[in-house]
């Protein structure tokens, strides 16, 4: 078994409520099936890691949850994803409201070429016309929640592109938090960061878990073990295993998971 540190993460939140339910999800890009019959339930206010070898469809699964595939020509989806009982693929779904409720942070930090302040305020301005004081307050709160306030409070009106990579990524989290989402999708958020920035980010994820449903895609086993309560293991578009992180890592029920954890492939 791979040497992973299992910490207090093994302790589960007391009450489990289903937040996102994925049901028989199939997804094709230009006729090539990328996701095959994925079914699982992601609990509220916990961290769920999706791991698996490159190209297994983990990012694709994540991007289905806020319907970002709508923009990809040639993408076909069958099955359901329910957010609090509401099927997000139903024709009546307000996709803009869905994306407000389901925030996303990408693999590479992608702040807008605007000031730090404007980056965080952006989402708030889309979803309403907040007053100046209200905006100041909300931006500060989001930056504090993202553990970034102390580092940027004196340069709020400087370009976000002047920040370090780790700061940019936490800014992207603050930007997502500002619109008060319920679910936070993190697509390999630490893959472009150095170890210290990664540690800060993981610390942040731990704090976020008490208020948000966090779903993190990672190909880093240690990271999945460190930050998550639940782990989904994906291979070649199939959900091989889903369960409490502790159990998935110590006693996987599927041979493929065990092989992956031992580093036999992937």
């Amino acid at each position: 078994m791979v040497d992973v540190q299992l910490t207090h993460r093994a302790v589960l939140p007391e009450e489990l409520v289903a937040k996102v339910e994925i049901e028989k999800l199939d997804l094709w890009f230009d006729g090539v099936q990328v996701l095959k019959g994925i079914t699982c339930t992601i609990p509220e206010k916990a961290v769920t890691a999706i791991m698996g070898p490159s190209g297994c469809g983990k990012s694709t699964l994540l991007r289905a949850m806020n319907r970002l595939h709508d923009l990809t020509p040639g993408c076909r989806i069958r099955g359901k994803i329910r957010l609090d009982e509401m099927n997000i693929f139903e024709s009546g779904t307000d996709v803009y409201e869905l994306r407000r409720r389901v925030g996303m942070v990408f693999q590479r930090p992608n702040p807008f070429p605007k000031s730090v302040f404007e980056n965080v305020a952006y989402g708030l301005k889309i979803h309403g016309r907040p007053g100046r004081a209200e905006l100041d307050q909300a931006v500060e709160k989001a930056l504090r929640d993202a553990n970034l306030w102390d580092e940027v409070k004196d340069k709020l009106h400087r370009s976000a592109l002047d920040l370090s990579g780790g700061q940019q990524q936490r800014l992207c989290i603050a930007r997502a938090l500002a619109v008060e989402p319920e679910v936070l999708l993190l697509d390999e958020p630490a893959s472009a960061l150095d170890p210290i920035s990664t540690a800060k980010l993981e610390e942040l994820i731990e704090e976020l878990q008490s208020s948000y449903t966090v779903i993190i895609v990672t190909h880093n086993l240690q990271q999945a073990a460190r930050v998550s309560h639940y782990t989904a293991f994906l291979m070649l578009g199939e959900l091989v295993e889903f369960g409490v992180t502790d159990e998935v890592f110590t006693a996987p029920s599927d041979q493929r998971t065990e092989n992956y954890l031992r580093g036999i492939f992937g």
Binding site: L68, P73, Y96, R108, P113, Y122, K125
Partner: protein, 284 residues
């Protein structure tokens, strides 16, 4: 010396020579116009009406006419081109349709300017009944620079990374909001560069305005969109081919050419300024 070394020197010198010729020609053109035209340049030449059958006075109406025509062309072509490019880059999903539109736009940019002139004459002057005037000329010029503007805007929009759009859309923004608040602000310097170059091109064209707007001489400055106007390139053409005092007119023509040249160089200078600014702001 080894043959390889000799070959190297030969090709190196040859390409260097070609550069020298190109730069020399450019210098020669500018120098020639400056030498021939500088003698008539004066404040009076720039600010007054022509007098005595074009042999005295200035070219102010032609300068004003060219400025107005260029502005009019941009006022027409910029919104049209901008929105067309936004549609092509940000909205259209159908690759096939987009390819056909692109082929159409590219073909349009290959159409000779005199053909645009004839088209403008048929459509704006005659069919729509505008007559030869500032409006008809501006529309014709605008049509001519439209492909340039669409292409420049398309390139500018395409150079903005997808990740900006994704970030915006993932926050719940519409595509329009994303375009207006994220993509366009990031692309504006580059778009401006293209637009300014298009203005420069519109300012220098003779053929599209020959039948649609320009006259050799008017007593009055333009008062509105329906006015017939004078314009620098057409003024040069007219001075060289029409009129009653060919000898005196030639020096006036070179003076006019110098003014037009300076105007276009100035406009291109502005384009270079914006290009540098665009490059400086780009850190992604």
């Amino acid at each position: 010396m080894k043959p390889r070394r000799i070959r190297e020197i030969f090709w190196f010198s040859l390409s260097g020579l070609c550069v020298a010729i190109v730069v020399g020609m450019l210098g020669l053109v500018i120098g020639f116009i400056v030498v021939k035209g500088a003698s008539v340049i004066s404040w009076e030449f720039l600010s007054e009406m022509p007098r005595n059958a074009m042999t005295e006075g200035g070219i102010w109406p032609a300068i004003l006419g060219t400025l107005l025509l260029s502005l009019g062309a941009i006022a027409f072509a910029l919104p049209l081109g901008l929105f067309a490019a936004i549609y092509l880059v940000e909205y259209s999903r159908d690759g096939k349709l987009r390819r056909w539109i692109r082929i159409g736009v590219n073909s349009l940019s290959g159409v000779p300017s005199v053909v645009f002139g004839l088209f403008g004459l048929a459509l704006f002057v005659n069919f729509l009944g505008f007559g030869a005037c500032l409006l008809a000329g501006s529309l014709t010029l605008g049509l001519m620079v439209l492909p340039t503007i669409i292409r420049a805007t398309e390139e500018a929009l395409k150079s903005i990374p997808m990740s900006f759009r994704e970030a915006s859309l993932a926050l719940g923004a519409t595509r329009w909001h994303t375009t207006v608040r994220v993509v366009l602000p990031a692309a504006v310097s580059q778009i401006l560069t293209g637009v300014i170059l298009a203005v420069g091109r519109a300012a220098g064209e003779t053929a599209p305005i020959m039948f649609t707007a320009a006259v050799f001489f008017t007593k009055r400055l333009p008062t509105g969109l329906a006015s017939k106007i004078m314009a620098l390139p057409y003024h040069i053409y007219a001075l060289m081919t029409e009129g009653t005092h060919p000898a005196e007119q030639i020096s006036m023509a070179y003076g006019t050419a110098l003014v037009l040249l300076m105007l276009v160089l100035l406009v291109n200078g502005a384009a270079i300024f914006f290009r540098i600014r665009a490059r400086k702001g780009k850190k992604w």
